[in-house]
Symmetry: C2
Subunit: 327 residues, 2 copies
């Protein structure tokens, strides 16, 4: 039974939701939250501590391991848009930070479970109709490159027995709550989130663009499933594409119209952006996630469900006839 | 026309052969040779300089770029056996050294061609019957991990326009001349080289083991072809598996018997080594190198030819009815 958990990147959207869920599920002795900005620790019937530091500063990762957490979630990264705009910062945070963490664990000489959030950005066009489990990583962004390198390190450190790692390639998380971040993928959430909040949203790509989605609720499900999975089943291939929902932007908008009505769906304004289109063109559209499905990871049932989950979890709205996810 | 060339890893077997060939082909103004041990510069009708340093020491890579070589061959690495035995050294030389070089080129702010020797060790079992151009890199050694990471960096730095990179995944080079090195693959050459030299050779794996080979002569051909290739043809996927010859150890021995006679072939003694067998089991056996073939890279014609090339190039022997390689 895992008693001490460390969440790195705890102040981010996924980090906060994971923390909430860990507190709700209970059973821990200690939860350590880390980020570059102070994570807000919730009330919990066990000890919660926060550490604020830059993981890419040598010596900082070691401090997180003093209590020897048996389970480490490593969610920290700067997003794709920022890593593309600032080459050095991207490599420093997304590669060096992760490597310093892995090195610190190696030198601490115990063998925790490490759950690492990778990304479908490790793949780059041209693609097959659906990306299978043996398709090469050929990223078209520095962010994707950094995540692909982290996956290779995760596998080698696990093979060597320094820790017990699993990398999960999250689909694009949709609907992201809160304000837009610098990710080039931000509009995929914006076109649902803003109209539901009564605001106009900008769509920078054609409606024919197809992409791969999971709700925040599904993402937390992946993380918790990865934390308790028997990793002997993984063999040497420690990173997995997570199941998701493949829809076009047009289908996203139709789902919004079905659930929230035409007046809401009409709050989306098309305003083509060549830079974003160029980035998005290189992104995956669809996957065949046999391995992850066989290992028990479960996607949302539909994009309609993804919208309903947003309305329930973020807007506190009961939605009509919710079709539950399979997981 | 390329006038200034830098060879990193010039003291190694491939580096020495490449240097010889560059001198023979002529047409350069300057050739700069680098390694951790002093490369022996041959006589040449142009300027040859040697620099001895450790590329993984910060600041050293910059010194190699002072003359702004337009073509850089990066061949330097510690071999698989050593990278597996010494985890820290492997990452320092094979990852940090390469990254420091790439960073130095980025900061030098010009755009040389970089030809990087990668390895089929980026692939790990389980494999399809023949590994195609879209098969994932899932290395089973730290050496393979380091090379796979270098490939990702090479692609990203090229995409960003910092240099014009191409990575070539060499088959196992056979027959390696000279003394055995620490590579776990050493026996593939030893079982040909030692018997031809009148010595006994040890075979640590079963004769059914299949593997993927190229002669040193073919390898030099790959490097020179990569140096002049129109890299626009590569798109974002900057690393390629090179064509080779797929044979079993038993077929290697039969070829030796055909060319040098039974008394030579009988100098191979079977002595199973569980450690080497375990490493070799995870190695590729066969490839489908469509991309490289379409781009004009040419393999040896047969394993018989690979033996004949060794006898001609290393032993100065005319071989009977040499069947020339296609390249």
């Amino acid at each position: 039974m895992v008693k001490k958990v460390l969440v790195i990147g705890a102040a981010g959207m996924i980090g906060r939701k994971l923390t909430e869920r860990l507190v709700k599920d209970g059973g821990l002795d200690e939860l350590l939250l880390h980020d570059v900005v102070a994570p807000t620790p919730p009330q919990a019937p066990f000890k919660i501590r926060s550490i604020v530091s830059d993981l890419s500063t040598p010596g900082e990762a070691e401090k997180l391991l003093v209590g020897r957490p048996e389970l480490i979630f490593h969610l920290a990264a700067i997003v794709s848009g920022e890593a593309e705009a600032d080459f050095e910062k991207g490599y420093r945070i997304n590669l060096d930070g992760t490597r310093l963490l892995f090195e610190a664990i190696r030198k601490a000489n115990y063998r925790p479970r490490v759950v690492f959030t990778s990304s479908i950005a490790v793949f780059g066009a041209p693609f097959p109709e659906a990306i299978g489990d043996e398709f090469l990583s050929s990223p078209l962004t520095s962010y994707g490159t950094q995540k692909a390198i982290d996956e290779l390190l995760l596998a080698d450190y696990s093979r060597r027995g320094f820790f017990d790692g699993i990398g999960i390639r999250l689909p694009t998380i949709c609907v992201r709550p809160g304000k837009p971040n610098k990710a080039a993928s931000g509009f995929f959430s914006g076109i649902i989130r803003e109209p539901l909040a009564g605001q106009e949203a900008v769509l920078p790509v054609p409606k024919s663009v197809r992409h791969w989605f999971a709700s925040p609720r599904a993402a937390i499900g992946f993380l918790l499933h990865a934390a308790k999975l028997d990793t002997a089943q993984l063999g040497a291939r420690r990173s997995l594409s997570m199941p998701g929902v493949s829809v076009t932007v047009g289908e996203q908008i139709e789902a919004l119209r079905r659930i929230a009505g035409d007046s809401v769906a009409r709050r989306i304004r098309e305003e083509p952006d060549a830079t974003i289109m160029k980035i998005v063109e290189g992104w995956p559209r669809n996957f065949d996630t046999k391995r992850a499905s066989a290992l028990g990871f479960r996607a949302d049932a539909s994009f309609d469900d993804i919208i309903r989950i947003h309305m329930e979890d973020e807007l506190g709205q009961k939605t009509p006839a919710p079709q539950r996810g399979r997981g």
